[in-house]
Amino acid sequence: MSNALRINVIYLLLLTAVFAFFLASLSFGGFYKVSLTDLINVMGSRGMLEDPLRVVIDMRLRRGLTSIAVGAILGVSSIALQNVLRNPLASPFTLGIQHAAALGVGVAMTAFGAISIIGPRSATSSTVVMVNPYVVSALAFAGATIQSFLILFLAYSVGLSIYAVILASIALSFASQAALSLLQYLYFNEVQVATLLFWTFGDVGRVSWFDVWLLLLIASAATILFTALSMDLDLISLGDEVAVSSGVNVKVVRFVALLTSSLFTAVSVSLVGVIGFAGLLASHAARLTVGWNTRRSVFAATLYGSLIVLAADFLGRVVLNPVTLPVGITTTLVGVPLLIALLLGGRRGVAEGR
């Protein structure tokens, strides 16, 4: 079974790469360089919170862990969505689920005053504080869920092709963005507009430790859930009747997968904003290297997702140092060519059938 060995080597390389980028993102990017010995010293010693080095490390640790968690969430959600919708182009971003969640956050800001801004009154230095994080997440979840089931309706009841579903989703995501713009135009002051804009770029640098743990918890839950469902997801990708005849409760699995991936996406969007294409990139990197077996590709997509968001954030901090680019901009710049390549390649490759 050299195949199994090859896949284990890929896992190992990915784990190493994630760890390396994690360390690198603790050390570089921004004004401070932190050496490995500094890192060990500061981590080992207690107290001295006022030590600027410690503050820097604390901030970068949150950044790194958030990147890992969010990348994993988007990666595995993309795999699950691709299987239950039988659409290799599916991901929380290409299906507009992230945009719909963002609209939910906008509504929360407007109607419930759930987010306020503290710190100096400028968009780059102020911090977004959720007065009521539950309202924000709940509305993001509502937006994401409505979008997911709308897509399910378009794909199954209307019977759109895989390309038509993606086009319809892109159209719907424009609608979400327009509604968000309208909210900003009508109700937001200039600082709110700037804050929301920065937040929609996708930024992993503004989360609290509580949020970090929450994201890590969700990332683990998503990986475990979709691993447990992996065989059902394999079968559903072959067709509903094949799956039913092998004893899968297709309706329940599809419902659970759509609902949970909407939830996972919504939480990630409400905390770090819209990080475009990371999920699609991670899922296809996983499929290409470990194959279409769902159990293996879920695990690989976790690692690729983490790696992609970590690397994008790292690049965003290093390239124009000391200016930090929001991670969502970097991933989108890399992701757009991939989507186009997939649309072109679909004529003979992954997207046949249907």
């Binding site: 079968l235 039913v244 005849s245």
Partner: protein, 255 residues
């Protein structure tokens, strides 16, 4: 021994009655071909046998036990289903594809036994060397054999096939038909297959069920059920039965 019994099964799609009082039975090791024009209820019958569709009335019995009293998983272990075509093909390896058929036995992760079963059935259908090829790269005949392997890996007692030869060229049609016949004999399976090709039905079946408008029009051994009169009545086409060649040929002169 009678293994499969279909008793007065009715099914409808909304107001359209697709199956009207279908009744037949099959013994272990028997190949039953279901023939009939498009829309006569062949595929619906197979899906009802597999429990994908629940009959409005009547029942399907396996070993005397009604499907209605079984759980989905129990049914899945009894029947292997080979669909006419797959709705969508992601490039799974042949191995993973066949392994997915073991689902009714797998709670969380496939184990060593499941892997062994996969290799066993791949050997049976002569696809061992292709185990780690992608299913999207298989030829039509190989894909059909992979589908059959997927249905066999659950070690069913009844094998259901929907047009197993429809997309194959002549050589593979015979190859797949021989394979099916041999499986029925060696593994004591009941095979129920929907067929368009009447010659294949004539040649490879122990029993033929001729369907028309959701009803069984004729049934029996190929010689009894597939007569020139029955075929004209059901398809509206005149044919000649060549007994020596075991073939059904469309007559040149249709008058």
């Amino acid at each position: 021994m009678v293994l499969l019994k279909v008793g007065n099964v009715e099914f409808s799609y909304g107001s359209f009655k697709a199956l009207k009082g279908v009744t037949f039975e099959a013994r272990e090791g028997e190949v039953v071909s279901v023939v009939g024009p498009n829309g006569s209820g062949k595929t619906t019958l197979l899906k009802t046998l597999d429990g994908i569709f629940k009959p409005l009335s009547g029942s399907v019995y396996v070993d005397g036990k009604s499907l209605g009293s079984m759980g989905r998983k129990e049914i899945a272990k009894l029947f292997g289903y080979v669909p006419q075509r797959l709705e969508h093909l992601y490039p799974f390896t042949v191995f993973d594809f066949v392994l997915s058929g073991r689902k009714p036995y797998i709670a969380f992760m496939p184990g060593g036994k499941d892997h062994r079963k996969v290799f066993e059935v791949l050997k049976l259908v002569n696809l061992e060397e292709k185990a780690f090829k992608k299913i999207t790269e298989l030829s039509g005949g190989e894909l059909q054999r992979a589908l059959i392997a997927r249905a066999l890996v659950v070690e069913p007692r009844i094998l259901l096939l929907d047009e197993p030869t429809a997309s194959l060229d002549l050589y593979y049609q015979l190859e797949v038909a021989e394979l099916i016949k041999q499986l029925a004999r060696d593994r004591r399976l009941v095979v129920v297959m929907a067929l368009h090709d009447l010659s294949l039905a004539y040649r490879y079946s122990d029993k033929v069920v001729v369907m028309k408008d959701g009803k069984v029009y004729a049934m029996g051994s190929p010689e009894e059920a597939l007569t020139e009169e029955v075929i004209y009545a059901v398809y509206g086409v005149r044919v000649r039965i060549l007994k020596d060649e075991k073939a059904v040929v469309v007559a040149f002169n249709q008058r």
